[in-house]
């Protein structure tokens, strides 16, 4: 290996690491607020990438149907319970968000000349379609069992993951797609070539991480999410409902997932089931942070990215093995250094 190769691998590693960092942050956030280990995080990456690929190729994005279907079910479930509770006025709001919005979006997507839209608009449409699935998923999958033990929530996560992968195959077919890059620029810095897309990925990740940090430290909704993670009972007494916190968290997780997919799809070919592996690498990073520390998770993500790219050079057949084996020393180290905490009650 010479310097040039090391630089290329390092650049690859940092680019992928930036994506893993975003996903790791989402996983830590979801676990902290709702105690859900969010296995389907990766599916949002694939859905984001493949929805954009369909729009780019001028096809009607099939994920639209999932949004509409989930919206109908949520409207029915929430509508019925609102009417039972005698709050029929709420039904309008429920239907507005979960039924009218998907229908309007459907009409919009249907009428637009998808293939000829500028890339930015295509990306925006992708996010508008995929991101609302996050809160809907929380409502349908996790909210009914929000007080269940972590293990039960994990089992539901696996079920949701399998269902989403299956639907992904139906929607997108077995072929992989690669979308066109945000920028075709190439820069030469010393002995190294940097592509525009790499810069896009790293900068967008950084901007998004800073935006998240500001959201959590400056806005009252961000503080409310942190409060829920620290003390759910106390948060509830302030009127911060676990339901609201859950939906907001899943909105952010879905946004991070879809955005990661959109960013990474010009670099890697994405198949309907690729998301799982990408999500798992984010999960390894989140584990390094003990599912609780955002900075350590982000640093872990960079390490995962670099380890992956260098091991693909030296032992490409084993690159996944090497990355996932990283979990074992991390777990040993964590179990030796952290004191076991009994569940307090």
């Amino acid at each position: 290996m010479d310097l040039q190769i090391a630089l290329i691998l390092g650049q690859d590693g940092i680019t992928n690491g930036a994506i893993y960092a975003l996903l790791a942050l989402a996983l830590v956030l979801v676990f902290a607020v709702t105690r859900v280990i969010f296995i389907p995080q990766g599916e949002f990456v694939a859905y984001g990438a493949l929805t954009l690929a369909m729009i780019e190729n001028g096809f009607f994005p099939a994920t639209m149907w999932l949004l509409l279907g989930a919206g109908v079910v949520v409207t029915l479930a929430d509508g019925v319970s609102a009417i039972r509770a005698g709050q029929s006025r709420k039904v309008v709001g429920i239907a507005g968000v979960n039924l009218i919005y998907p229908l309007l979006l459907l009409a919009l997507v249907w009428s637009l000349p998808l293939r000829d839209l500028p890339l930015a608009v295509q990306v925006l449409l992708t996010l508008l379609i995929v991101v609302p699935m996050g809160p809907m998923m929380y409502r349908l999958v996790y909210q009914p069992i929000a007080d269940a033990p972590v293990l039960v929530l994990l089992i539901m996560s696996i079920a949701a993951h399998v269902a989403m992968v299956g639907l992904g195959l139906v929607f997108f077919g077995p072929e992989g797609y690669r979308t066109s890059p945000f920028s075709n620029a190439r820069f030469e810095i010393g002995p190294m070539f940097v592509t525009g897309q790499t810069i896009w990925v790293i900068l967008s990740s950084l901007v998004f991480i800073v935006a998240l940090a500001l959201f959590f430290s400056k806005t009252i909704y961000g503080k409310a999410l942190r409060a829920t993670a620290i003390n759910p009972n106390g948060a509830r007494l302030m009127g911060i409902s676990p339901m609201l916190a859950g939906k907001l968290t899943f909105f952010l997780a879905a946004l991070i997932g879809a955005l990661s997919g959109v960013l990474i799809s010009p670099i890697t070919t994405i198949y309907y089931d690729t998301g799982f592996l990408i999500g798992l690498k984010g999960f390894v990073a989140a584990i390094i942070g003990g599912l609780s520390s955002y900075p350590i998770a982000a640093a872990g993500a960079l390490m995962v990215g670099l380890l992956e790219s260098f091991s693909s050079f030296w032992a490409s057949a084993y690159k996944e093995v090497i990355v996932f084996t990283l979990v074992i020393p991390v777990l040993v180290w964590r179990s030796l250094t952290t004191h076991h905490m009994e569940e307090e009650e």
Partner: protein
């Protein structure tokens, strides 16, 4: 419900029962609280005092009728009760330990913020006026506060919601006597600012001194009730809860 029902009954609880599985922790309790008054519920450990507050707030499911500001609720939702102006300071305080004092306070106004009442800056000033100590520590993490300061923060956080009814669960628990005295001073101060208070206490002496009306809860049932000043002289209460020769306690509670 109207905002104008100033004097009169603020809270009326009828036949409230709470079950933990098959065990009945609270049995048909009925209490009433007038606007602008302090009502206390005293009783021994495990009598169901905390259970009763939790059920009124909606933290625990219950059977029975809870009439608050004229509207009847059955086993209410916490969020609904917060939105309607009820606030509970729980026994465990339930502060957000890894957040600053100021952030804890601001979150107290979360429900109001959601309703579009974004005046938490002014309310924060009022709370700081009441608890100058919190202003000194505004940037400190809540988890690093002393016991008394934590209790002040818990009360201050509840006041940020501008509650019509403040429910305090054992505010003096685990605090040094002089700080207990400070807490009770604040409780009377709050009443003079128009906050109605439902106070659950083991420190019966101090509670009876500050309250207008009192209930005694024993093994899940209300056994004695009456104006606080009368109960303070009731032989049954003196024997069971106040004890004789409590001059020292009197001095601290005053």
């Amino acid at each position: 419900m109207s905002e104008t029902d100033t004097r009169g009954t603020l809270l009326e609880v009828r036949d409230l029962s709470v079950f933990y599985g098959k065990v009945e922790a609270l049995h048909g309790a009925s209490i009433r609280l007038d606007e602008g008054s302090i009502v206390t519920v005293i009783g021994p450990n495990g009598a169901g005092k905390t259970t009763m507050l939790s059920a009124i707030m909606g933290v625990l499911p219950s059977v029975g009728e809870i009439r608050f500001r004229g509207a009847v609720e059955h086993s209410p939702e916490v969020e609904t009760m917060v939105a309607r102006g009820m606030n509970l300071v729980p026994e465990k305080r339930d502060l957000f330990g890894e957040m600053s004092v100021e952030d804890n306070l601001v979150l107290g106004a979360f429900q109001r913020y959601r309703e579009g009442k974004r005046d938490h800056g002014t309310t924060l000033g009022e709370v700081f006026e009441l608890f100058p100590r919190l202003q000194e520590r505004r940037a400190q993490l809540a988890g690093t506060l002393s016991g008394g300061e934590r209790q002040m923060l818990a009360v201050g956080r509840a006041l940020m919601a501008k509650p019509r009814l403040l429910m305090l669960d054992e505010p003096s628990l685990g605090l040094a006597p002089l700080i207990v005295r400070e807490i009770f001073r604040i409780i009377s101060e709050l009443r003079s600012r128009g906050v109605s208070i439902l106070l659950v206490e083991q420190n019966a002496r101090a509670a009876l001194q500050v309250a207008d009306y009192a209930y005694v809860l024993e093994t899940g049932e209300i056994t004695i009730e009456g104006p606080a000043s009368e109960l303070a002289n009731d032989p049954r209460i003196i024997e069971a809860y106040l004890g004789l020769g409590g001059k020292h306690q009197d001095a601290l509670a005053g």
